[in-house]
Symmetry: C2
Subunit: 212 residues, 2 copies
């Protein structure tokens, strides 16, 4: 599927994982076709927006009464690079790092957790999801000898800049940052920040509205 | 600040927490004014989009070279209901529940964690962030005697529908769902779903693009 040469807007990129999840749900229910109208209801965007989104990637040819879900699902997987064998490491084996290391959804979507690092003597050497936690002092050595595509940062705020810098120095090109701190990294490094209090604030807004 | 009677689009609502966070960052750096152009660079939306967003809430009167950050910050806090004393409980005291119970950002934004529930004998009675984990069998009784605004669900997928139902029966109007399962709840219940693999998929996309 040839990708449109036009730059794909961030908001469209951010919808791709949601399309992918929703199509996966439909497939697991044995559904094989979906119309842009049905998709739009679920996604909370208009049907024309969905067609516009898909046109960035060649359109996926909606025919008759809908899209072929299996085809659409596998095409979006390709666009997202879910078949590329991306490897990831987690730095910070506290509760959140622990939870992420056990998150079944990552492996299911093609992300291979290859190492976990921490600086605490209490955790180093223990196994999480069959992976032994390494000493953070081994990070540079590990990056020199292993391909790591994505670094997941679940370290305290005060440590995050230093660790991010070390990952980038070691050749990691993508970082998933769970700390509150914004990272200042070179332009060729992709960063996604996860702010766990954002959805709580959204709920708070909706609660307030519903009371009016 | 009178809110525009027009329904605020979901996408605008979802930007409010980000505005709030960014303004808080600026304040903590001692900055007092910001232009819509500066805000727009940071937020990755156009300056005109920012003005449109703010117009839903009366506009916040940008004057001269920018917005008064302290005023804007406190107005957005009010709109988000962050001063409303929202109470929350966490159901599921595994690693993720544990991490969330210790998440400093929640309290900082006005969310008060009042109880934690689990069904495991190993965890019930233990303290997390000074809160004793209660037996899930006490949930109904607790909801009968305490106001709970938000329920945070960090239970396994197979348990999530039952627990969500029990929360709603007990009068909880807002749910933050960390499970993979979509909840089917009455229309007057606000639900936010957190899918931790979405930002990983976005990173994967960006990695793939950057290689081309």
């Amino acid at each position: 599927m040839p990708e449109n040469s036009k730059k794909v807007p961030e908001v469209v990129i951010n919808r791709l994982p949601r399309y992918y999840r929703y199509l996966g749900d439909l497939l697991s229910q044995g559904i094989t076709k979906v119309s842009s109208t049905e998709l739009s209801k679920k996604m909370g965007v208009t049907a024309s927006q969905i067609r516009q989104d898909f046109n960035f990637f060649g359109g996926f040819g909606q025919q008759g009464y809908g899209y072929n879900i299996e085809y659409l699902y596998s095409e979006i997987a390709k666009i997202l690079g879910l078949n590329d064998g991306n490897t990831m490491i987690i730095v910070g084996a506290g509760n959140l790092g622990h939870a992420l290391a056990n998150h079944a959804g990552f492996e299911k979507r093609g992300f291979k957790l290859v190492a976990i690092f921490d600086n605490s003597k209490d955790i180093i050497g223990k196994e999480i999801n069959h992976i032994k936690v390494r000493d953070i002092s081994e990070l540079e050595d590990y990056l020199l000898n292993n391909r790591v595509d994505i670094g997941v940062l679940t370290v305290p705020n005060k440590a995050v800049h230093n660790i991010a810098y070390r990952l980038v120095e070691g050749g990691v090109k993508a970082i998933l940052n769970f700390s509150y701190s914004e990272l200042n990294l070179p332009d060729d490094i992709s960063v996604e920040n996860v702010h766990l209090s954002d959805p709580l604030m959204t709920l708070s807004y909706k609660l307030k509205r519903s009371k009016i």
